[in-house]
Amino acid sequence: MPDRRDFLKLSALAVAATTGMPGFLARAAAQAGGSKTLVVIQLTGGNDGLNTLVPYSNGAYYAARPNIAIPRKDVLTLTPDLGMHPALKPLMGLWDAGQLAWMENVGYPNPNRSHFASMAIWHTADPTQAGAEGWIGRVAEKIGDPFCASNLGGTTPLALRAETFSLPSIERVDTFQVKLPQGLDGALNRLLDAPREGEADYLLRATRQMMKNTARVQENVKKYRAGASYPEGRFAEQLQDAARLIAAGVGQRVLYVSLGGFDTHAGQRAEQDELLGTLAAGLSAFHADLEKQGLADDVIVMGFSEFGRRVAENASAGTDHGKGSVMFALGKGVRGGVHGSSPDLEDLSEGDIKYRQDFRGVYAEALARWLKLDDRAILGGTFQGPGWVA
């Protein structure tokens, strides 16, 4: 089969792809050393934090949501005041084992109710909306290797945008390989060898990088042996691909997976129930898989959404865009429990909760304590976290 092997012959070409990036390989060798992996889960659309981590002892919660509140009898009790949405049941084992953390009341200054402005703030870790690079893109630049952070899915989120190179998106690990028709390697080599400018140069570098990345994955991915059964669906498939990449040990420090559909303006219960069920079932399988692979000590998961929903339900049995929300994290490296204090539902800002924990503090701990990177350099400041990394 004249496919990948032919491309490996082009490795000289692939190395040449990096020559436009000063100090690239040298830095990669020096800084990529860590063995820990962070998996970031994006819940797209604004997940309702109050119906995720439910303040079931709070009368104001039930008063604000006569139709869509989670009845007390359905809540999965965690503390005397808080419990999880019933669809999160697959995560109860992790909670009991002290491997699930909830971060309460997370947000940022001058909250923006636009999905896109707010998501960009989470992606760039820049509430002034001035940043063009993603915070994970900056991680990759710090480490010096575009492959150290990869997205699982079709399009690369802004969080993974870097100035000097593009970070990979892997749609499916199985199809992440180049199959070149016979006899064309010389011509392709010539085609990609000629220097370009502008966007053509960008495409040229992206193509070379892709060839290098696919070769690297396919060389190593067979190290993974199926360890747990995953539920059906795209989200779980992507988590399994994440497990395969981690098992392959190809050098990714950050992996990124998205689950969309949380913009629940109408009929929220049915929509969010299903989504949280998908989330919990996928994460539970992923965690079991990592245990089987012997990788559970090396991986933590951190989840966020661009904002929560308004405290009061709207007339369509849904909720409109709100401000702060909850974050979650899981894994053996996590300090289980609820971190931070619950929002005061009787002291609201324009109908929304007032955040107390800046999300950049949560990121900072992932960067400094888990990935052992310089969080200040990546986040552009010092941010205090709630102590969620063990």
Partner: protein, 430 residues
């Protein structure tokens, strides 16, 4: 300042450039036909639309046995139109508008609603009135459903459409220091938009996905109280809000920027955007006039404007077929290609979010590039690859008669040459 015109008749490279941007590429004969012509005449001619469609479209969404099948047929039917329409610029613009006034098939699963929406995008492709266009889209069952305005009632506001009308369809969000609208505008706008819903074909139940929905206004559900919106106070209603948003001075800039991103550069030049915005305002939101000026401007034909736009997945596929002379593909291949565009990040009528696709470098990542390699192989080398009447020239493939790709491909047989051309950086740019 409106945009200065390109002062010279078109050369062959000018003509190839124009057709790459406005017609998803072209054959040598189509390029030759424009050489020596006046740029303004060429733009005007390309923008003269009628109701013709591509002959022989094999897909009829109304025959879909399930909502899912109907959606697949809708996408394939549009892809066919994009590939073979006698009015490629109209389809190019419909694609742009579908990425502006976004609806998504995750919520709109009703065939007549989608057909009505696509019809609006085509009819207003180069609209003389952006305000009229906005109003008709806003009151289409597809949009009423997609952004929940069908649930927006007096005393029980649903802000979804009101917010996106401002943020994504008209004035744009502005900058953090200088926002173009306030949260108050969103709330008051939502009140003014109450009462508009639709009847029939709710889309989700399986038995109504072919039923025709009709927009409806229920005065009892309308909040006719005093509101203040974008600085105007009164008993504002749906049309007032659309009027104020669509004719706001910032809307001219926001819409012009989108047109520049479609036709000039992934990262547009803001001074040129302002030029088009001035024309937009002067003509009362005549998009056709803005486009005619833009597509015959010196900025459009400037050397540094060439090969600056990264072709998106749909554009890539359609460009390949059109550059190869429009060979007929099997229905199954077309259905597959519509899905393949989705795997590359652009499932027609289903962007990830209501913001639509950002385009530019966002289209490019490892998986998307791998899939482009597969598409190129399927169209040039494989057993089901179409037979070509003529092999396209370098000018048709690369937009230029001299460039780095040409030399690299010497000595290959025609199929191999087409394959590698399609995966070259030059082909992937417009």
């Amino acid at each position: 300042m409106s945009l200065p015109p390109h002062p010279r008749p078109l050369t062959s490279e000018d003509a190839a450039h124009f057709l790459r941007r406005t017609a998803f590429g072209a054959t040598d004969a189509q390029i030759r036909a424009l050489v020596g012509k006046n740029p303004r005449d060429v733009a005007r001619e390309a923008l003269r639309f009628d109701s013709r469609t591509a002959p022989g479209n094999p897909f009829d969404p109304s025959t879909g046995a399930t909502p899912g099948a109907m959606l697949q047929l809708t996408r394939a039917a549009w892809l066919y139109e994009l590939m073979y329409s006698p009015q490629p610029l109209r389809e190019r613009l419909a694609l742009t508008w579908s990425n502006h006034f976004v609806v998504g098939t995750d919520k709109v699963k009703n065939h007549p609603a989608l057909a009505g929406y696509l019809g609006l995008l085509r009819r207003h492709a180069a609209t003389p009135s952006f305000e009229r266009f906005t109003l008709e889209v806003a009151q289409s069952p597809a949009m009423l459903r997609y952004l929940d305005n069908d649930l927006n009632r007096r005393g029980r506001p649903n802000e979804n459409f009101a917010r996106e009308l401002l943020e994504l369809f008209t004035v744009g969000i502005g900058t953090p220091g200088r926002p173009n609208y306030t949260e108050q505008d969103v709330r008051e706008g939502a009140r003014a938009l109450t009462g508009w819903s639709f009847e029939g074909g709710r889309g989700n139940p399986r038995n109504t996905y072919l039923q025709t929905p009709r927009a409806s206004f229920n005065p009892r559900q309308h909040d006719d109280g005093q509101k203040t919106y974008l600085g105007q106070t009164g008993r504002l209603g749906f049309e007032d809000v659309v009027h104020l948003a669509a004719t706001h001075p910032q809307t001219a800039v926001f819409v012009s920027r989108k047109l520049h991103r479609t036709f000039l550069a992934d990262t547009p030049d803001e001074a040129a955007v302002q030029g088009s915005a001035e024309t937009f305002r002067r003509t009362g939101g005549n998009v056709g006039a803005v486009l005619e000026e833009l597509l015959s401007s010196a900025a459009f034909y400037a050397p540094h404007s060439r090969a600056r736009i990264i072709r998106g997945p749909v554009e890539y596929i359609v460009s390949a077929v059109r550059t190869l002379g429009g060979p007929k593909l099997e229905a199954k291949q077309l259905l597959n290609l519509a899905q393949t565009a989705g795997r590359m990040g652009q499932l027609l009528l289903q962007p990830d979010t209501v913001k639509g696709w950002d385009g530019g470098r966002e289209w490019i990542n490892d998986s998307a590039l791998l899939t482009r390699l597969q598409v190129a192989a399927a169209l040039s080398l494989g057993g089901t690859a179409p037979t070509l009447d003529a092999v396209p020239s370098d000018l048709a493939l690369f937009g230029s008669e001299t460039g780095p790709a040409q030399a690299a491909l010497k000595g290959l047989n025609p199929k191999q040459r087409v394959y590698l051309a399609l995966i070259s950086p030059e082909f992937q740019l417009a």
